[in-house]
């Protein structure tokens, strides 16, 4: 197989998933609305004091973004598993590694990317100091891609189970922790007026690691689930 067809397989899967999402636009909006609603619950729960909100804003936005990614990842392979597309993907001559990478990329473009783009609005609502806004967006941009890749492993492992949802969060949330720690650290460094490029680089390193290794785990899990 030459390079062209490898790329073609990747882009065809990407285009297909984006097209499917475009046809069911409400599914795409749900995690974003969840993100917005849960973030707006916090001022009601902990009180509207701007000072306290500003202190907690990086953590709140990050934790809620993480939960939104988690909720969204449950659907990643669900419909393809139900209608048998996943089996066809395993049978197709294009490597499964590239196909699951394309699916995860499409998934990130529909959840992580809009979440990151929406985060300045949430930062405004939660009184995050203005010097932290760019850092929040950048950290979410890189971090959510790692979250999508890790979430895809869990989604692939649990897709054949009837009650996969709760189990998915149980097995995936512990793996999200390093991303959360460094994501929040980036924003807090920026708010404190420190250089945050080093922390951002750590997130980038996690992304590089996840990007190269997690498709292996996702592909293996997809095969296990289809065999089940």
């Amino acid at each position: 197989m030459n390079n062209l067809s490898v790329w073609a397989g990747f882009s065809a899967t990407l285009r297909r998933d984006l097209l499917l999402a475009y046809r069911r636009r409400s599914d795409f909006a749900n995690p974003l609305i969840f993100f917005l609603i849960v973030c707006s619950l916090f001022p009601l729960g902990i009180g509207p004091s701007p000072q306290r909100l500003a202190e907690m804003a990086p953590g709140i936005v990050w934790v809620v973004a993480l939960l939104a990614c988690l909720l969204a990842s449950d659907t990643l392979f669900r419909s393809d598993f139900d209608d048998g597309s996943l089996e066809q993907m395993i049978l197709s001559p294009v490597s499964l590694y590239l196909q699951v990478l394309a699916k995860t990329t499409a998934h990130w473009m529909l959840t992580g990317l809009p979440l990151a783009l929406m985060s300045p609005l949430l930062a405004l609502l939660l009184q995050l100091p203005s010097q932290g806004v760019i850092a929040l967006m950048l950290s979410l941009l890189i971090g959510s891609a790692v979250l999508s890749l890790i979430g895809a492993i869990g989604a692939a492992l649990t897709v054949s189970l009837r009650k996969g949802g709760v189990l998915l969060s149980l097995i995936i949330l512990p793996l999200y922790v390093p991303v959360l720690i460094f994501g929040v650290a980036v924003v807090e460094a920026a708010v404190g007026g420190f250089a945050y490029s080093g922390l951002l680089a750590v997130l980038g390193a996690m992304l590089a690691l996840a990007l190269s290794l997690s498709p292996l785990a996702i592909a293996a899990s997809v095969k296990i689930s289809v065999d089940n």
């Binding site: 890790i150 492993i153 492992l157 649990t158 054949s160 189970l161 009650k163 996969g164 189990l167 149980l170 097995i171 949330l173 512990p174 793996l175 922790v177 390093p178 690691l209 997690s214 785990a217 293996a220 899990s221 296990i224 689930s225 065999d227 089940n228």
Partner: protein, 250 residues
């Protein structure tokens, strides 16, 4: 060359649950003896004869449980991940049994480490719990064990269950080096490691030796527990074979 043939034969035999059951039955009394004597010796030495700490008085003595439990809980994860890799690559039945047996033992050990740590934290730090990097990482390790167990139980098909949780434990493997280095990375309340292989330890020899004995005891105990769990798992899985039926009838 002869060595490789011997190793291959050993590896080949390991694939047979029955052979493992028989050989482990012979090891078990000796290992139990080792574990028991190390644990009794270390506990009496550490609790009664080791000198009290200059700053912490007698409360530090929980170190003789806390440190070995924490160390073995991490080693247990490595054993589990290693068994998972062997199971995925060579489809060895025994590796799956070992992996399945590691999860509950590891979960119990992390729980012991967290529990003793919080008992130790109250008199020395003045609080039951701090969100220190190392404590948090051990907590995550505990959650990883629970995740592997939950995933294992969720599948009805045994083959898929073992493969899926093998993948999960390999993925979770990323966490173990983070735990190991976390004290160096995010230094806070928890003290850094005091036992070092390459340079002189910063713990006094009078405390170090009982601690090492306890460490040996915990490792031996882990092996004993692993063998017991594996043996009962083997009996359950092979319950329809002739040799298990003969064993049950005898």
């Amino acid at each position: 060359m002869g060595f490789f043939v011997l190793m291959w034969a050993f590896f080949h035999k390991l694939g047979s649950p029955r052979w493992f059951y028989e050989i482990s039955g012979k090891w078990l009394p000796w290992l139990s003896l080792l574990a028991l004597s190390c644990l009794i010796l270390g506990a009496v030495w550490g609790l009664a004869f080791a000198p009290p700490d200059f700053k912490q008085g007698n409360s530090y003595r929980i170190i003789f449980i806390h440190v070995p439990a924490a160390a073995v809980s991490m080693a247990c994860y490595m054993v589990m991940a290693f068994a998972a890799a062997i199971h995925l690559i060579w489809k060895m039945k025994l590796a799956d049994v070992v992996m399945r047996s590691c999860a509950p033992i590891g979960a119990a050990l992390t729980l012991i480490a967290l529990f003793t740590g919080s008992i130790w934290g109250k008199p020395t730090w003045g609080t039951w719990w701090v969100w220190d990097a190392r404590i948090t990482s051990v907590l995550i390790l505990f959650f990883l064990y629970l995740g592997v167990l939950a995933l294992y139980e969720a599948f009805e098909n045994a083959e898929s269950a073992s493969k899926a949780s093998a993948v999960l434990s390999l993925v979770g493997c990323v966490n173990v080096p983070i735990i190991y280095w976390s004290v160096e990375w995010w230094y806070s309340l928890h003290q850094p490691a005091t036992i070092k292989l390459t340079e002189e330890s910063t713990i006094h020899p009078d405390m170090l030796y009982p601690l090492l004995v306890m460490l040996c005891g915990f490792y031996a105990f882990f092996v004993v527990a692993l063998l017991l769990f594996s043996r009962s798992e083997i009996l359950y899985r092979e319950r329809k074979t002739k040799w298990v039926k003969a064993l049950a009838a005898a």
